[in-house]
Amino acid sequence: MEKKTYTITSSEGLHARPCSLLVSAVTPFQSDVTITYNGKKANMKSIMGVMGMGIESGAQVDVEADGADESEAIAKVDEIMKQESIGE
């Protein structure tokens, strides 16, 4: 299992656009990818699961990937987070 922690920096938090980017990015991976915020965990391939958490700017989240391509999945999340200035 691979895990990484981020602070969300996009000014509006994880709203529709950043959510779409992240969900689209992890969907092709085989691994289960989850995001944890405030003690609650959601499937990161589910836009409703992620948006439903109401993650605001400045929030700390954990992203975990578990499966055959877990490192690649985390690397992809990392790339999107930085490239799109969503989190760091």
């Binding site: 000014s11 509006e12 779409s20 689209s24 391939k45 589910s46 605001e56």
Partner: protein, 570 residues
Amino acid sequence: MTNELTGIGVSDGIAIARAYRLESPDLTVEKRTIDDPASEIARFESAQSEAADELEAIRKKAEENFGADKAAIFGAHLLVLNDPELLSSVKGSIEQGNNAEYALQQAADTFTAMFEAMDNEYMRERAADVRDVTKRLLAKLLGVHVSDPSSIDEEVIIVADDLTPSATAQLNKEFVKGFVTNIGGRTSHSAILGRMLEIPAVVGTKSAMDAIEQGTQLVVDGTDGLVLIDPTEQAVHDYTVKQEKFQQDKELLKRYVTESTKTSDGQHVEVGANIASVDDLPLADKNGAEGVGLFRTEFLYMGNSDWPTEEEQLEAYKAVLTAMGDRPTVVRTLDIGGDKELDYFKTPDEMNPFLGERAIRLCFAEPDMFRTQLRALLRASIHGNLKIMFPMIATLEEFRKAKGMLLEEEEKLKADGFAVSESYEVGMMLEIPAAAVIADLFAKEVDFFSIGTNDLIQYTMAADRMNESVSYLYQPTHPAVLRLIHNVITAAHKEGKWAGMCGEVAGDPLAIPILLGMGLDEFSMSPSSILKARSQIAGLSKADWEGYIPEILQMGTSEEIIRFVQDHSK
């Protein structure tokens, strides 16, 4: 008789055109028991793939009409359509013997309920996205035809229950002159789109779809939130004149966006915006707001399912302060009670709620709730130029008590290692005549005053501002009101403090010259009024109006004062 509808005006201007109704198709779902889940799932998947094709086509169209940024929402809709949580919920339900329509409806209800229960308005409005996607899918399953707004080819005003994002993306903006909807608020799609396209929009009329037939002539006044149905020739004429005037004014006012507010004799006053959330800031910026003179925090609390937490509030305050940067931001602590209520907290039942346990009084009755807000504000203070303002202060003891609680929380936060700005200010809203009378005593203890005129007038005149039969007593230029305001400004200046105004009078063209003459330092108003106020101030000499004040303060009636202002403004 001309029928009128009132709603929330969310995008300024006047539109005159015929109504185009966007019908909501009948998507009534019946529950059936099925005995071949596998083929039901196949039926669902085929509907899903048709809906996906349709959405992809809409996404392309939206990209052409509005650009890639706005079209991105349909990328999100495609993700909702393929959402694993949604699909597994639907399929699970089908496997239990439910028909696909019913299974989908149940899943959609669960997700929309989740968004609707969230504590920020943006997220609550996202329930509309989920509903939009699931309706499209439901229409496919039911074989119901959905109307095609992209076929509009003449000037129309769209009338709808609510504007779905996919409907808005299909609208040909060349022909759409305005919107009227039954439901919606300031951040609903119709509101955002109306402002983006700069066309008038009135939302939340409740009954537009019942009252307006296809093709009926309409006048939409997005400034006043008014819709005239089948107006008289005279009304059409009047509104056409108003429309032309609005367009001309708008063009002329644009040059004031980047200028600071200066009188003709070179004196600077600040013109800021009243806002209710970070979502209002783009409009404030577009109109060149020099600050936020009133951030109404009650909207964080209203429509929420529970008290907002310290962290939730911190994020909201931080977002506004960060966006405003060095520009001053006056945040008013919770002001509920009176006409503003919460779903999760019963404000006291009172004979006279406006004279009852509201605003700061309620905060003292619920100290934990109040302290949570103070802590969130103090923690946010390092992100901008914060000024904290307590509403409804009547006595010195109240101000001291509120400030004392603030300082206690500051001590605690610092002890816990949190940073708090050294330069935030603490002031009060001046809206009770008793406080205005002893403004000189308050001025020694506050950092600033902000005059709230709606309540100050209502309390001074002893006239309920919601009561139509005494509305003639709502007189912003009544001599008593003006003397109180003058007293407040003079008292502030004597102690080297500043005085602002965040009530509606600050944007009233008849009051502005007087307030300027009295030396008001800051005028705060709805963002759409800023440029007009700035252009008016640019044409006024502060020295002249200072000179008129003694004379004005001796006048006996509001009417006399108004006439004086009109005569001397020419």
